[in-house]
Structures are given as structure tokens and as C-alpha cells.
């Protein structure tokens, strides 16, 4: 009985507290519903406005990168006048007499070069006969363990007349053999697969992959590129080193202006 009374009084205290807490809770709601119209809308408006401004700044910044590369009219002024290696090295894709020359110093294992592969392909498809691509090897051997092998594979395929077919396969399947976190430990096997896919003579291909002459040809590109390249890819457009990485739109704009000026 005593125990019952005790627990009953405890219950009473507890219920009293619950009631007080509840009324406090609901009162606070009252307070907010009354003041909602004045004290909540303004901060909310401010937050929305701030996000819009932040978005605007972000969009401006994201365009800035490609704008710095120059609206085509200023490209000549902003580009540094680094002497361009004389032609002869590198592989040329597209009409040899195309009015516009785009030189790329690329590393087959660099993700950015991989991103640019479809951009340049698209550009060349859009303007057939107007742009030629001169691709130079610039494998960053220190950080990209399979880049050299990829360059050798492309050159070896080139010996059998399928350089660009191999070039495309290598870039399109970059993740297969060149994932930077998990580079394929045996890239030669992957490239041999590609060679078979392209119908190349596998013996000749492997011989060439391992021949010092092929390696020398790749290294000759690197030697030439050393004067120009600050990172991969480096683009040289009509003799001007592009200080930044342009977008497809920028390229299209440039080509349109160039072609209009030539007419």
C-alpha cells in the first residue's frame, strides 16, 4: 500500500512534468505560427537569394576557365609565343592540307586526355577536311605506369597501318588498362587483345612493342614536347600554345572564326 502510494505520487509528479513540458512545446508552436509570417520568411528569402548568388558565381567561375583560354579573338594575344616544334614528329590525322592544325601532347593514361579524345573526334567530324590533329606522345612515366606501354602499342599498331584505330581503342577503354588507382599490372596483354581485335599480326606487334626503335620514336616526341608541355594534354592550335584547356564550344567558335576569316 505504502509502495503503491509512493509510486502514485511519483506518477503524479511525472505527469505534471509531462504536462508542463507539453504545454511548453505547444506554446512554442504557437509562438512560431504567430511570428512565422514576419520572422521566417525573411531568413528564408535571404537563404534562397544567397544560393542563387552562389550558383551565379559558380557558373561564372566555370565559364571563366574556358573564357580565359580566350574568346577566339584574344586567343592570339593571351597565348604564350613558345616556339612550336617543327612538324615531322607525331602522327597526323585528318587531311594533310587542312587549314587548321591542332597539335596535342598527350598521355594515353591521363584522364583529362581521355576526356578530350571524344571532344577532338567530334570536332574533326564536324569539320571534315578543315582540322588536322597532330598527336605527340608525352607519357608521364613517373605517375602513369602504363602510359609508355600504351604509346608503344599505338606506335606498334601504326607500323601495321592501324595507328588511329589503336589510338581510339586505347582512349575509349582507358579504364580497362589505365585506371590510376588500379593500373592493370600486365597492360601488354590488354594491348595485344586490341591488336588481335584490329586484325594485326600479333608476332610483329609484340616484336615492335619491345623494340628499342619504337621506344626511341616515342622518346623523340617527349624530347620535342619538353619545351612546350607543362601538363597533359597540352594543345598547340595554329602555332599558339593554349594556356588553358578549352571546351568543345571554344574550339568550335575558334574554327568558325578561322574559317570565316579564310574566305
Amino acid at each position: 500500500m505504502l509502495l503503491g502510494n509512493l509510486s502514485l505520487s511519483r506518477w503524479r509528479i511525472f505527469l505534471g512534468q509531462v504536462r508542463k513540458n507539453a504545454s511548453y512545446f505547444f506554446h512554442s508552436f504557437d509562438y512560431y505560427s504567430v511570428t512565422m509570417s514576419t520572422s521566417k520568411t525573411r531568413p528564408l528569402l535571404l537563404i534562397i537569394l544567397a544560393v542563387a548568388i552562389a550558383g551565379g558565381i559558380a557558373i561564372y567561375m566555370s565559364r571563366q576557365g574556358s573564357a580565359e583560354t580566350g574568346s577566339p579573338s584574344t586567343a592570339g594575344e593571351s597565348a604564350q609565343s613558345v616556339p612550336v616544334p617543327s612538324p615531322g614528329g607525331g602522327r597526323v590525322r585528318g587531311a594533310p592540307d587542312a587549314p587548321i592544325t591542332l597539335v596535342e601532347y598527350g598521355d594515353y593514361q591521363c584522364p583529362t586526355c581521355g576526356l578530350y579524345h571524344p571532344i577532338i573526334t567530334e570536332l574533326q567530324n564536324r569539320y571534315p577536311g578543315k582540322i588536322k590533329l597532330e598527336y605527340h606522345h608525352f607519357p608521364l612515366i613517373q605517375s602513369h605506369s602504363n602510359a609508355m606501354a600504351a604509346s608503344l602499342a599505338a606506335e606498334s599498331a601504326g607500323e601495321q597501318g592501324k595507328y588511329w584505330e589503336m589510338h581510339d581503342l586505347i582512349f575509349e577503354h582507358q579504364r580497362e588498362w589505365g585506371d590510376l588507382q588500379r593500373p592493370n599490372p600486365n597492360p601488354e596483354a590488354v594491348f595485344l587483345q586490341y591488336a588481335l581485335q584490329l586484325g594485326l599480326d600479333s608476332n610483329k606487334f609484340m616484336q615492335s612493342m619491345r623494340s628499342p626503335a619504337t621506344r626511341d620514336r616515342v622518346l623523340a616526341d617527349v624530347t620535342k614536347g619538353n619545351a612546350v608541355v607543362k601538363g597533359t594534354p597540352t594543345f598547340v592550335l595554329d602555332g599558339q600554345v593554349l594556356p588553358n584547356l578549352p571546351t568543345l564550344d571554344w574550339f568550335v567558335d575558334y574554327v568558325d572564326r578561322r574559317l570565316a576569316a579564310n574566305k
Binding site: 531568413p43 537563404i47 544567397a50 559558380a58 566555370s62 576557365g65 584522364p111 590510376l180 588553358n244
Partner: protein, 140 residues
């Protein structure tokens, strides 16, 4: 409290710009001016959780901090008083992400490092948690 809120507003606003920028640039080449390896970091397998880029999680975080600080500057600091906990979580996640850049990818992305610094400053500026009493009498 006011200066604290203003500092948090400024820091989280910078965070909003940073994360929105990375959100817009997702899948496109990002100019890497100070550090080397933005592409490696932003395209790595650590750059998204369940297909959602980490930058959008960052955006949600900064938006929460920003909202809390704006409400606090209008006199309602209930949300801001709780912001310490998400800030602590964000700080720990940032440490992990910087660790991934340093020890796994061996590449750094300046925008990610800026975000890590912002989160750290937000943690420092956020009000430290107090014991919360639910019984109003104690406050009297």
C-alpha cells in the same frame, strides 16, 4: 553570437560556391591551378557515393550551416546550437577525404582542400554543445 553567425554565414557561403562549382563542372575538365591532379581526384572511384557526387553532399552541408546561421542572425538560434554535430561529422569526413587524396590517389584537388579548410573553420566557429535541459523550470 552575432559575430559567430556572421562568420558562419561567410564560410558556408564560400562552401556553397565551391560545391556548386564542382557540381557544375562534374564530368568536365577542371582547371587545376595550384595543385596537381584535380581530374584524378574528381573522377576517382571515391568521388561519389551511390552515384551521387560528394560535392552535392557538401552542398547540402553548407546549405544547412548557412540556413542555421541566417536564422540565428534573425534571432532564432535553435538550429545553430545544434550545428556543432553535423560540423563535427563533416570535419571527420573531410579528414578521411584528404587522407584518400594523400595516401591512395597521391593527387590533390584544390577545390576539395578549400572545402576541407572551410569545414574545419566552420567546426571552430560553431557554438560548442551545451547540456540541453528539457524541463523549463530549471531555466528559471
Amino acid at each position: 553570437m552575432r559575430s559567430r553567425a556572421l562568420a558562419l554565414i561567410l564560410l558556408s557561403f564560400l562552401g556553397l560556391v565551391d560545391t556548386l562549382y564542382l557540381g557544375i563542372k562534374r564530368g568536365k575538365p577542371v582547371p587545376c591551378t595550384i595543385t596537381n591532379g584535380c581530374e584524378e581526384v574528381l573522377n576517382s572511384r571515391f568521388s561519389a557515393i551511390a552515384g551521387i557526387p560528394i560535392s552535392w553532399f557538401g552542398f547540402a552541408f553548407y546549405l544547412t550551416v548557412f540556413s542555421a546561421a541566417v536564422f540565428a542572425s534573425f534571432g532564432d538560434s535553435r538550429l545553430l546550437n545544434l550545428i556543432f554535430w553535423p560540423a563535427l561529422a563533416g570535419f571527420l569526413i573531410s579528414i578521411a577525404l584528404v587522407g584518400v587524396q594523400a595516401f591512395i590517389l597521391h593527387a590533390y584537388c584544390q577545390y576539395c582542400l578549400v572545402s576541407a579548410i572551410l569545414v574545419t573553420l566552420i567546426l571552430i566557429a560553431s557554438p560548442k554543445p551545451k547540456r540541453i535541459s528539457t524541463i523549463p523550470e530549471q531555466a528559471q
